[in-house]
Subunit: 168 residues, 2 copies
DNA sequence: CTCGAAGAATTCGACATCGAAATATTAGCA
DNA sequence: TGCTAATATTTCGATGTCGAATTCTTCGAG
């Protein structure tokens, strides 16, 4: 590699510049680009961390979705939450069930539906992964004061509150 | 669906609560979770928008990476930038080249390497997509003042500056 | 009550992606 | 120079994902 590998801030500036040059608005692109590259980097770390647990990132998404919901979900709901086709979920659940991380149970009131729930092992895996990743995440945010973190979270949450209204 | 579909802020709160319950730190999880869900939603919108241009999101990633770099890149670099295995890049580039969006050219000084560049059509497609998506992105940020957008961007950029130092 | 439409999960064939191996070229060193 | 290690791309077999079709159940109009 003749040219040095660019740093994250350099990549960020390049990206914003390119988007602005192509007709995007600067204040918008600075935010959007930063969110995208931050998320991308985090995903990479998670993938590595999950590899240690012998879990594909899509499988983790299922476990996390169930943990967040705190109650059983149907395969369709899981497919929706994890951004995957319902047909793909079937196989994923097969594998996760085989490993004993989730359980399928028929819905007594509606026999077309199936409920998927985390097993005890599933919960333990979730907790283990979270505690591990929290360390990395704290490192990422180490340059922000507690007050700044709160402000950052607040601003992001304002944006999130807008998400549902847009769909159109 | 018996239960109403949860809104984005509800999902966000649930996620933070689950992560904190599993041992994560709150100020960290609020930020990380918000970044993740925002990024996910944006990806969904991009995927839809790109479908109109008959472009898979991975193909877009290649076009965007080349546009941001502003110069030709090798398949390996593109694979790295777009988070994909080098072997997968081969086929993607084949397809993009077939559509006339990129061009491959051998590197005269090192015959192991190949340079990939955007064609004129590739640049036009990039510009078209950016102008289209900027509209959606502006909508997402509409609840933030110009000053708040600047502050949000600044905080995110502080975090990004830290990214490279962590790899360990 | 019956029949057709709608909804949910699964199966199936086609295609994209992955990791490992293969190929070709360059770089380093005795 | 000659030989080995390293680098870059591509090929290949296995696996995951997608969209369409399938099966089964429930809902609703007449």
């Amino acid at each position: 590699m003749a040219t040095r590998k660019p740093t994250a801030p350099e990549l960020h500036r390049q990206a914003v510049a390119a988007y602005v040059a192509a007709g995007g608005e600067e204040s918008v692109q600075r935010v959007i680009t930063a969110v995208a590259s931050l998320s991308k980097k985090l995903d990479q770390w998670y993938a590595r961390q999950l590899a240690d647990l012998d879990l594909a990132s899509g499988e983790w998404a299922v476990v996390a979705a169930l943990a967040k919901a705190g109650e059983p979900l149907t395969p369709s709901q899981l497919a929706d939450l994890t951004n995957v086709a319902p047909s793909s979920m079937t196989h994923r659940l097969d594998k996760l069930a085989e490993r004993g991380l989730v359980e399928r149970a028929p819905d007594a009131t509606n026999r077309t539906r199936v409920f998927v729930a985390l097993t005890e092992d599933g919960w333990q895996l979730f907790s283990l992964a979270i505690r591990g990743s929290d360390v990395v995440e704290s490192d990422v945010l180490q340059d922000l004061s507690e007050k700044e973190r709160g402000e950052l979270a607040r601003l992001l949450e304002v944006v999130i509150a807008r998400l549902d209204d847009i769909e159109a």
